[in-house]
């Protein structure tokens, strides 16, 4: 290699000298020509812009009782860079020693946060006074370490309102980025911020959040604030408080009446449609989520066979069963195929249609009954016969008028529309001509493919009680006046007959266990056949019968007969409601 003259050593030396020359020239430029500029930066003060978080609005019940508010908790946070050197002498190691944290698990936790793209890492999320004082006193020895006072969401009645109010969580890196794309100058969320995840917290996010402010302050070279003046470059707008239509006391009462059994119960105030109470069981504690739920808690909630995370009020659908006979009766009356006095073939516990026998729930049969008797005693055979004079489309039109088959539009996530089938629906489901008119018979008693949510059943009951087709459930009290009533397109006499008959149901029919001393109740029981186990128990009602003030729907899963189990739940709540109203503790 040394034998022939080579050009490489020359080039190599040239490149090295050139590189060192550039570095030296740059040093000369920085340290001699630009020196004063850098010196000023090293010793001078700089303006630093800080963001001031807007407090999130509180959520209260109709009487102002707090259901969701904020508490301040301090956390000790680090810059991401602190994690690059976890050596024996680093700030981080020192802190872990002071706080008595286990280095291994702490480092792992921080690394996870870093991997999640957080610019700041939370070392201690709920720091005590001693820890805060330690960091504050040694601020200058702990570069990159700060105490971050941050509002945490608190739900004083966590499990009682979890399905309605929902919960908040920390924004993800993706969400931060998405909102930054919308408004790059003032991104709506920064990492570490809170965002509504479920329930009203999520749907009312825009109202509750407010707008963060920007303050400018002067700091010296060591990052210590100097001067007192804080300039505001963008005004802070606090989040709005939201008042709900719910009443904490009535919610508690309804929850007690349910006695922890899986199911759902809801009560609407009439004629406003305000939701006074709505319980979905089993439930969970919303406070678990605000600080970041642990994996174990999350898994156990998610894998619970009774689905505590499911909001049965709007997300679960059931066959409406016998309360649906109200729809069939109204449909028959309005189409003129039956009158209150109509009598058909007697019930012997079943009805032969083609080569199939459709059973009545009462296997011994009801014998001779007219239309009124059939609704009071819930005779299936009568409805099997009367529905044959109607068709699926007519039934569906009536059901839609009463609020089934469509979302009620309450501000809750994942609301189901339910199903009210017509011929086209069956054609699509089974193929044209591959289903028989037998489905009509199932439909007439609210079985088969019909599915409704508990809230829809409460709306149906309220609409029948008021004769108002425009009634909608409302959760937020400040939403303005309810929409003006629109009369249901039924004859007043027909509606009155249905209401009277519902009163008889409670007076002498299947719903006698909903009777109250002080108030007349009108209702309808139901027992939804359930191929997967014990039947679901339904009860819908309104009260007082003569001047309806509240409408309710109750369903208890796998609980048996509606009259036996669901009606007492309604009665218990109605008793509280009217007693408290009497005493002036509940205002309409």
């Amino acid at each position: 290699m040394v034998d022939q003259p080579r050009i490489q050593p020359m080039i190599f030396r040239g490149v090295v000298v050139l590189a060192f020359g550039v570095i030296l020239a740059n040093l000369f430029y920085m340290q001699v020509i630009k020196r004063e500029e850098f010196r000023a930066q090293a010793t001078g003060n700089v303006e630093v812009e800080t963001r001031v978080r807007a407090p999130r609005g509180n959520i209260t019940d109709r009487d102002g009782a707090v259901l969701a508010d904020n508490v301040f908790r301090s956390s000790v946070v680090l810059q991401r860079g602190c994690l690059t050197d976890a050596g024996p002498d680093s700030t981080l190691t020192m802190l872990m020693e002071w706080f008595g944290l286990d280095p291994e698990s702490t480092l792992e936790r921080l690394a996870r946060q870093k991997a999640a793209g957080r610019p700041q890492l939370t070392l201690v999320s709920d720091a005590g006074m001693a820890q805060i004082a330690l960091v504050r006193e040694n601020a200058r020895r702990l570069p990159g370490v700060s105490v971050d006072a941050k509002p945490w969401r608190r739900y004083p009645r966590g499990p009682l309102f979890a399905h309605l109010i929902g919960y908040t969580g920390e924004v993800t890196a993706e969400e931060v980025e998405r909102f930054r794309d919308l408004d790059p100058e003032f991104p709506r969320y920064l990492s570490g911020d809170t965002i509504g995840r479920e329930g009203l917290e999520a749907t009312l996010e825009d109202t509750l959040r407010g707008r963060d402010g920007l303050h400018v302050r002067e700091v010296d070279a060591l990052g210590v604030e100097v001067g007192q003046s804080r300039l505001v470059s963008r005004e802070l707008i606090p989040g709005h408080d939201v008042r709900l239509t719910l009443s904490a006391a009535l919610q508690e009462s309804l929850s007690v009446a349910m006695a922890g059994r899986p199911g759902c119960a809801v009560a609407l105030e009439l004629p406003t449609g305000d939701v006074l109470a709505a319980v979905s069981l089993p439930t969970y504690d919303a406070n678990l989520f605000t600080r970041g739920i642990s994996l174990e808690d999350w898994e156990s909630l998610r894998n619970d066979p009774e689905h505590p995370l499911l909001n049965r009020l709007v997300q679960a659908t059931y066959p409406p069963a016998s309360p649906y006979k109200i729809v069939t009766s109204l449909c028959a009356l309005s189409h003129g195929v039956a009158t209150p006095g109509t009598s058909l073939d007697p019930c012997f516990g079943g009805y032969r249609f083609g080569n199939r026998v459709f059973r009545c729930w009462k296997l011994s049969g009801h014998g001779y009954l007219n239309h009124a008797g059939a609704l009071v005693h819930s005779c299936d055979v009568f409805y099997y016969q009367v529905v044959q004079l109607l068709d699926l489309e007519a039934l569906k039109r009536t059901a839609l008028l009463l609020g089934l088959g469509q979302r009620t539009g309450v501000p809750l996530r994942g609301e189901a529309a339910g199903i009210v089938p017509d011929s086209a629906w069956y054609d699509e489901r089974y193929g044209k001509g591959r289903w028989t008119r037998g489905v009509l018979l199932n439909n007439s008693i609210g079985q088969g493919e019909i599915l409704v949510t508990p809230l829809q059943m409460a709306v149906l009951t309220a609409r029948v009680a008021l004769g108002d087709a425009a009634l909608q459930p409302r959760l937020v009290a400040d939403d303005g006046p309810p929409p003006p009533p629109v009369p249901l397109p039924f004859k007043a006499s027909d509606l009155n007959w249905v209401r009277d008959t519902m009163h008889q149901v409670v007076d002498m029919g299947t719903g006698t266990r909903a009777q109250l001393e002080a108030v007349d109740v009108s209702g309808k029981t139901g027992t939804a056949q359930n191929p997967h186990g014990e039947d679901h128990a339904w009860f819908v009602c309104f009260a007082p019968s003569s001047d309806p003030q509240v409408a309710m729907a109750v369903i208890l899963e796998h609980a048996g007969h509606g009259g036996a189990v669901a009606a007492p739940v309604a009665a218990s709540w109605l008793a509280d409601y009217f007693e408290w109203r009497e005493r002036g503790e509940v205002r309409p």
């Binding site: 290699m1 340290q31 850098f38 690059t84 480092l107």
Partner: protein, 425 residues
Amino acid sequence: MKLVLPRKSSGGSAGFLALYALLCLFSLAVLWSVTEGLHGSYQEVAPVVSKTVFWRQVVWILLGWTALLTAMRLPLHLLEESAPLLFGLTLAVLALVLVAAPEVAGSRRWFALGPVRIQPSEPAKIMLILMLARVLGRSAPGDQRLLPLAGSALLMMAPLALVLKEPDLGTSLVFLAIWLGIVFWYGLSWVVLLCTASPLLSAGFSFYSERILMGQPWPWAVYLLVLLAALSVARFRLLESILLLLVNIASGIGTSVFWAGLKGYQQARILSFFQPEKYPQGAGYQAIQSKIAIGSGGVFGTQYLQGTQKGLAFLPERHTDFIFSVVGEELGLVGAAALLAIFLTLILKGVTVATKARRPFNALLAIGVVTYFTFHVVVNISITTGLMPVTGLPLPFMSYGGSNFLVSSFMLGLLINVGSRSFES
């Protein structure tokens, strides 16, 4: 009386040893200051880096001398013979790091042995130099074919990929630099070198077109035309030319597909690497603080032990990767230039050793070591002075840290070893 002169064949070992001793003392002086904390108007500020760092470095320096003296005396042919074995072992350990090392801050880089951390990617630099020197030292020089070159490139890619996976971008670039230095010395024409590096260039041009020009493919297209011209000038086999062109097109298109597949914040993270000023948090903040420290040092510095920026809010690596900013601040242009002079002398002496080496293996070994020092010194100082984007790379002999100090010492030992054999047959 006969004057006893040092043996000529010592190849200037005395000079090297003097430079080494100078650097060790320089390092200790700066580390003492870093661990001393702030004075003057910032008196109440206690040191953030503890004195332990200084005393540990004293121990490392003692061990470093041992490593250097050992490397000076090792029989080089033995190293050449065992290079494949050592290299294979290194790859195995690097792979083991990915599986078994503790994950810290999202990366796996070192094993803990008692109180000491061993970072296997450091000795891997030595093993790569030995392996490349052996492989290329035995093949005929001046071979203009791409294939032997591609073979050495593959050897280099193995540790590079493993270290990149840790992930440690800075160290993996060192492997690339070492390979370039050795291959350059080996005597390939610039055309061949450029063609070998071309897929990287293609990716770079594609990224530039996609990102900076918002989807204008012209720079990349022009680059491909230039490459085509270069290929027609170089007399490769047709198959090799076509293959090279295809690899270029694939890497260019792959880059833009990869970029488009990234999420917004991931793209921002990559862009912040290239434009730290726009992202004054994290890495960008370090670079800015380092520049302020050096700039405010002036010609004579703020005097030893008097720097203000070294303790400033946030330079977590000021005793390791950013130690040069303390030199620049406290000792000024004079101190920084003195340090540069020491390094430049060391590197130029190293080039001389490589030039005078008798055997190809020795020459390539020497130039590999020289390239290693050059890359570390130039890139580290460029980062601290804001000429290059921030990535973790220590300043040899100066930065606190055992693995790099021992490896650098051993490498210098090998260089002296080669120099002392310049006149062997």
